[in-house]
């Protein structure tokens, strides 16, 4: 994927108004649909929920979009709505592009606080020139924009970059729309490991197998996936380079090998091995070699995950009689128990900013996603489904992707950390599980 240039658009001079940018409005619940594509695991994004503070934004269709291979404005709108921070405002019927001076009173009437407009122009060599500009409707200010020259194949990526620009400009936080997710599907007896855009589109198969694949884990560089494969009829751990398909078997010891987790420097992985009896935690060099035992316990220790400063490893252990989440220094030593509610807490995912721990709790027979504020210990339930699995934080710590079951079908969902805005990435065939959110692309 290459973008030839990203050029900031020169600002158009404009007067400044006195009102604040953010104001409380009634949130608009929007349903966004993306075009269905021919590959197996394609998604429609369905967004539900009402958030407290959502910035109303009008994303005008780009001039020339109707004839273009991708509806850029629709992709941008779906991205921004899925974040839970924006509500789309009807932007139809206006002919605008990045050079327009829009009639902002019209947009104020439509209750938009922000307006985006732009153009997409085919070039003689087959590529496309995409430009956009962002307007603060309330302050009547030009917030800037960008221009791109790309091939048709990279138009979706451009839309995600535009959504990132808008998100960052208005929230001050980094957008995750240009990141990727990995997940596993099962169709009949065929398992596939997919790499897709964060909106679920553009999925490409990294691995296809007649035996199960579980526990995909992105390397910090975003270039490799570790996972557990049963292709040799016992669980073993591979490290797989996504762009080349080359893979290395790094854990094939006696017994079961599973639960790979990367250290933040990408140099080693924590894994669960049964080579010495029981399921215990070890660390192993990312190139393979002799594992080093992390701890010894009389029970099951599994599902390790590093904190993003690399100093700690969170993990699941039933050393106390039932599975709970603990934390240990990544050099080993005494472990500290983290979860205390209920008698079954598993599948930890810790936010990159170190503030939150997402995990699955079993309560009354239902498996439910919860998130804990690590400073205060306060726990919030996030879902009303009862078969939640494998949560994974987005790299900006603002969203969680997880697997669940709705109407008897497995599905991937994203949720904001307050549980209020959810998006369903519904698969079109087979069952979907084991999502892992990739890092920011460097």
């Amino acid at each position: 994927m290459t973008i030839d240039r990203i050029i900031p658009l020169a600002s158009l001079a404009s007067p400044v108004a006195a009102q604040p940018l953010f104001s409380r409005r009634n949130a608009v619940v929007a349903l966004a649909a993306s075009a269905a594509l021919p590959a197996l695991a394609q998604f429609r994004v369905e967004i539900s929920g009402v958030g407290l503070t959502q910035l109303p934004i009008a994303i005008a269709p780009l001039r020339g979009e109707a004839q273009a291979p991708q509806k850029i404005s629709a992709i941008v709108q779906a991205d921004l709505e899925r974040s839970g921070r924006f509500a789309g405002v009807d932007a139809s019927g206006q002919q605008l592009d990045e050079t327009s001076r829009p009639d902002l009173s019209l947009w104020r009437q439509r209750r938009a606080d922000v307006l985006s407009c732009g153009s997409i122009t085919p070039l003689a060599d087959g590529r496309f020139d995409v430009r956009f500009r962002l307007w603060d409707v309330v302050k009547a200010q030009d917030l800037g924009g960008q221009s791109f020259v790309v091939t048709a194949g990279d138009l979706r990526l451009v839309a995600h970059r535009i959504a990132d620009f808008i998100y960052e400009k208005l929230t001050g936080e980094r957008g995750v729309f240009s990141t990727r997710i990995a997940y596993v599907t099962k169709v009949g007896s065929r398992y596939s490991l997919w790499v897709a855009d964060a909106d679920g589109e553009n999925a490409q198969s990294a691995l296809s197998s007649p035996e199960p694949i579980i526990s995909p884990a992105w390397s910090p560089s975003g270039q490799q996936l570790a996972y557990v494969s049963f292709e040799s009829r016992k669980p073993v751990v591979y490290v797989h380079d996504v762009s080349t398909g080359r893979r290395r078997l790094i854990a094939n010891f006696r017994g079961s090998n599973s639960a790979p987790a990367w250290s933040p420097d990408g140099r080693q992985l924590a894994v669960t091995l049964s080579r010495d009896g029981g399921s215990q935690l070890y660390t192993i060099d990312a190139n393979g070699g002799e594992p080093r035992r992390l701890m010894q316990s009389g029970g099951i220790d599994t599902e390790p995950v590093y904190s993003s400063d690399g100093a700690s490893i969170y993990f699941v252990s039933d050393r106390g009689g039932s599975p709970q989440i603990y934390r240990v220094a990544s050099s080993g030593g005494a472990a500290q128990r983290i979860t205390f509610n209920g008698n079954y807490n598993i599948s930890p995912s810790v936010s990159p900013d170190g503030q939150w721990l997402a995990y699955i709790t079993r309560t009354g027979g239902a498996f439910k996603l919860q998130v804990m504020d690590l400073k205060s210990g306060t726990v919030t339930a996030l879902t009303d489904t009862s078969a939640d699995e494998s949560p994974s934080f987005a790299p900006n710590s603002r969203l969680i992707v997880y697997a669940t079951r709705q109407q008897g079908r497995e599905a991937l969902m994203t949720t904001t950390l307050d549980g209020k805005i959810k998006a369903r990435l519904a698969g079109q065939g087979g069952d979907i599980r084991e999502p892992a959110w990739g890092p920011f692309q460097k």
Binding site: Q204, K234, P235, S243, S256, S258, G278, S279
Partner: protein, 180 residues
């Protein structure tokens, strides 16, 4: 002596060949997955004695094909919910396997632990492992050497029976003894 050949090394080499220089996307369906059986039982291979009254022994308990092991003995041990204890009713079956393994010291058994579908995948992998190791301990107490056994787990990934009923759950909580 009839020897059985394990083709696992061949399989691993094939995968290694697939890995080198692959463009993105690895399709394991194209790799030969099955273990190919060795040559069929050859009666009378241990010749030496001739004469019209000699009888060439054919020993069906010495299965030349992988995947068999002792005949007439259960190859699946079932477990109660939340339990990792081998119930007494399976002791006879384990004794049958132990006897087989002690008299066929070149054979190896994979003890494949499974759980029902409830719960997380990795934690269930560890629970299945616990069941497989319970069976290994029982076999070890019956005199089977460690070298002839490997305890692995499939967690909840390979149910024997589909379904969300207690009956289906009960049939999935198991250890399978697999001679490869």
């Amino acid at each position: 002596m009839i020897r059985t050949q394990f083709k696992r090394a061949c399989f691993a080499l094939t995968i290694a060949a697939l890995v080198a220089g692959c463009s993105s996307g690895v399709d394991l369906d194209k790799a030969p997955v099955e273990d190919r059986g060795a040559t069929a039982t050859m009666p009378g291979a241990n010749t030496g004695n001739t004469g019209e009254s000699s009888v060439a022994p054919v020993d069906l308990t010495q299965s030349a094909r992988p995947g068999e092991g002792p005949v007439g003995v259960a190859h699946v041990i079932y477990f109660d919910f939340d339990s990792f204890v081998v119930k007494p009713e399976f002791q006879g079956a384990l004794e049958g396997h132990a006897k087989y393994l002690k008299s066929h010291t070149a054979r190896k058994v994979m003890l494949e632990g499974h759980t029902d579908e409830r719960g997380g995948r990795e934690y269930n992998l560890a629970l299945g492992q616990k069941r497989a190791e319970a069976v290994r301990r029982s076999l070890s107490l019956l005199g089977v050497t460690d070298a002839q056994m490997e305890a692995v787990s499939f967690g909840k990934e390979k149910p024997a029976v589909q379904g969300h009923t207690e009956d289906a759950f009960a049939q999935n909580r198991r250890v399978e003894l697999s001679y490869r």
